[in-house]
Amino acid sequence: MSEHYLLQMKNVTKSYYGTTVLKDINLDLKAGEIHAIVGENGAGKSTLMNILFGMPVIHSTGGYQGEILIEGQPAQITSPQQAMSSGIGMVHQEFMLIPNYSITENIKLNRETLKHSFLSRFFGRNLKTLDFKSMHADARKALDTLDIGIEEYTRVAGLPVGYMQFTEIAREIDKTNIKVLVFDEPTAVLAESEAANLLAAMKKLAARGIAILFITHRLDEVMEIADNITVLRDGRLVATRPKEATSVYELAELMVGRKVEKMTRRTDQVSSGNIVLSIKDLSVRMPGEVVSGLNLEVRRGEILGIGGLAGQGKVGVANGIMGLYPSSGTVLVNGEKLPLNNPRESIKRGLAFLSEDRRGVGLLLDSSIEMNIVISSLQNQGRFIRRFGPFSQLNSKEIRGYALKMIKELDIRCTGPTQIVRRLSGGNQQKVCIARALTLNPDILFVSEPTRGIDVGAKRLVLETLVRLNEQGMTIIMTSSELAELRSVCDRIAIVTGGTVAGILSPDDSDVNFGLLMAGQKAGKELSA
């Protein structure tokens, strides 16, 4: 029986410092099968894959219990090299690419074709030179398999993410012995069309007999391509289902472990509120998201959504107003003019910002949770500080108390307020960001892509938190690429196209109107008017 399976995991258990993060996971994988693994952040998906790939983080913390069988043979995978030689490839969530290398060099990384040089005859393999001609040919072949037209000698730095992802995949399929390919949330960073390409490529690979393990949050994708689906929750295997026998709703329910319902929007309309933020002729020079001459008015107490396609400028609005990118124009906060290009001023006027770039701009990754929560307030409002004449000191007691309160309120899953943020999962990192923004007690909260890269359960919590804050009187301006999400919480939705507002719609407007506005069609404007 077991010979039919390419890969089997039996009772795999892993604990970090006494906390069990995975318990008794069983997984069977056949050749040519696409097996999806879904689960909330922190459910143990990444840990499971790290075990499979022999990542050092597993073995430096005491290894794992249980058994992994490859083609029926027990295998102890203790290093990535070993995983690779056993035929396991991985497309990492964070790209394992060297930006300054060409695509070829990245595809052939550490598997370079070598040729003899005059010194290698004396000093061995290490002094053989690289054979770029054959490397380029191999790379071309792998890229062609994926139907990617890009030149193999292009430098990776500056490529769109989609291409980076395909470079990683090309690297894996270039390996001659590849049997199992792991995709760790491959579509999280991709635009919709890119994701579609990727799914097509995965199907193609599976058709060639490669078994695919597909980790994702997007349940619709799972339903689209997976043959079997395993759901993890809190380190346990909840269920394994063939696709035919399940549905998105069931999966979501299994994943979250509580009844899922569509988010109910508040009914009390605040359309009568006075103007709290007025944007006139705003231009922001944010690379890739340029805003040019945008006008927008925000009413007190509403949730205003900003939607639109990627690259049209919707992300630039909040970044410009918060002073993170050079901008010009007039912005009135409560009727007073806001000095632009000055983040400190923006914070002083009661604006706060949840950046779309969580790991880059949003967080001090190597600082503790509590420090991340209070740092903005500490720097800009002088809270959490004890003063002794000219000296000041952190009020660690107050910080600790406040951090504990926030952790509880927002349900941040962590080992404690001193844990460093890098170790948290995406959803929990986002919650830390929210906590930080709340600490500033803002009147107006800008939220950019609040649910990007986080799972269904956490997504819901984040959105619920935003709605709750709004009910307490906070005005929220939420930028998101996910229209469905905007429509579930917003009072009005502004669609930004070509750097300006193409039109403002109510969340109940038809899909057609949204679609037309996003595509920059005139008809959309007329319809909404």
Partner: protein, 434 residues
């Protein structure tokens, strides 16, 4: 050469940038400043050109090998290898013993190399081990390693030599019979062991180099068929080479003192050999792995490259090369201070390569050689420029010390600053592409 195509495209992108000129200026600020300083110094000092040329040839051939030994660790992402001081101490130990045994000239140099190499390898291995424990802090660790090991070195040569290590030599050992004298004189022994192996007049070397250069230009011209720039490049390169030859012939005809200057060809060949080796090495599997490790340790590890081992090899290579470089340095100096000669080696070599435009993450052969040239030009002209300006040669001395350390500080600060800017760069690069 195909590997460079990627770089070519990125350069083109930059040319479109109106900022390319100002970008060039900021990126090469240090080098440009030093070119200006050196030229001003040369002008102010009113120095005799023969003296200057003679001096600079001697200094460049003395120091280049040592500075070149810094390149490999930079490529492996370990920053500027201040621990080459340990290699220098290995070289000094070898030189002391060879002097004691009385082996002179070129055979003596070879014996030094044979002795210093295993010592440098052992020290390099240990240093590499330490660096693997202090990733990201290699520079400060290297600096401290230098101080730490100096203690052991002093102990060996002050206490053990003449005691546990028997050495019966009145010239080398202190009158008490224990410990090496503070200065070791190599005259009549290793002095000029390599430099005087084979020397040619400067003008002859220029003519030979010119001819070789022309041959290379022709080779490239033939090879680059189809390249639209090949004619212009060929004419320019050819003209430069011809100019060098004509210049050499003019110097000869004028009967100026410059035509009497002779060049230590053997030393230059050693330096050229090292340059060729580094260029070749970077194209090998090991060299490529080093570049990969230097770019991103994590990615390299995931790709299955034994990161720690590669880093140790990089430091060992650097250490061995530094010990050879220091032997070249010592044989040219002809005497050295037993307990202090190694000290400034690391700092000055690092300052030189930084002046050439290198940084903590990027260093090329060209930068190393240019840096040595500029650094020593400043060293030569600073005292007399100081005397001309302030009536005191000491002021110039102070200035050059200030410059050597200042440039290290400024470069490290600029590196940190650039890295902060770079966190915003990917977005910009992405936008450019679209």
């Amino acid at each position: 050469m195909k590997a460079d195509t990627g770089l070519e495209t990125s350069r083109k992108v930059q040319i479109d940038y109106w900022q390319s000129v100002s970008g060039f200026l900021t990126n090469n600020m240090v080098t440009i400043m030093f070119v200006a300083l050196s030229m001003a110094g040369l002008y102010i000092s009113g120095m005799n050109s023969t003296l200057y040329i003679n001096d600079i040839i001697s200094r460049v051939s003395r120091n280049s090998f040592l500075v070149l030994s810094l390149i490999i660790p930079v490529i492996a992402g370990m920053g500027l290898n201040f621990s080459i001081v340990l290699g220098a101490m290995a070289a000094q130990a070898a030189v002391i013993f060879v002097t004691h045994w009385g082996v002179a000239g070129f055979p003596g140099i070879l014996l030094c190399v044979a002795l210093a190499t295993p010592m440098a390898m052992a020290l390099g291995y240990l240093t590499g081990k330490l660096f693997n424990k202090t990733k990201g802090q290699e520079m400060i660790s290297g600096l401290i390693m230098g101080f730490f090991f100096a203690g052991i070195y002093w102990f060996i040569f002050l206490q053990l030599v003449g005691g546990i290590i028997p050495m019966d030599n009145e010239v080398l050992v202190l009158s008490s019979g224990v410990g090496i004298r503070t200065t070791v004189d190599l005259t009549g022994g290793l002095k000029y062991g390599l430099d005087h192996l084979y020397r040619l007049p400067l003008t002859t070397v220029m003519i030979i180099a010119g001819c070789l250069g022309i041959a290379y230009q022709v080779y490239r011209f033939v090879k680059a068929a189809g390249d639209s720039f090949r004619n212009i490049r060929f004419i320019f390169g050819f003209a430069c080479m011809v100019a060098v030859i004509v210049w050499a012939l003019m110097i000869r005809a004028s009967g100026s003192m410059v035509s009497n200057i002779r060049v230590p060809v053997a030393t230059w060949l050693a330096i050229a050999g090292l340059c060729l080796f580094i260029t070749f090495f970077l194209k090998t599997k090991l060299g490529h792995d080093m570049r990969t490790v230097g770019q991103d340790r994590h990615v390299a590890a995931v790709a299955g490259i034994p990161v720690d081992r590669i880093r140790i090899i990089a430091i060992m290579m650097s250490m061995v090369l530094a010990s050879w470089g220091h032997i070249i340095f010592l044989q040219n100096m002809g005497a050295f201070s037993t307990y202090g000669s190694h000290e400034s080696i690391g700092i000055y070599a690092v300052a030189a390569i930084l002046i050439g435009g290198a940084s903590v993450t990027r260093a090329t052969i060209g930068q190393a050689l240019l840096g040595v040239f500029l650094f020593h030009t400043l060293f030569i002209v600073a005292p007399s420029a100081g005397r001309q300006l302030f009536g005191d040669a000491q002021v110039g001395e102070y200035f050059r010390v200030f410059v050597a350390f200042g440039v290290i500080g400024v470069t490290l600060a600029m590196h940190a600053w650039k890295r902060r800017l770079q966190s915003k760069l990917p977005a910009v690069a992405k936008a450019e592409k679209e």
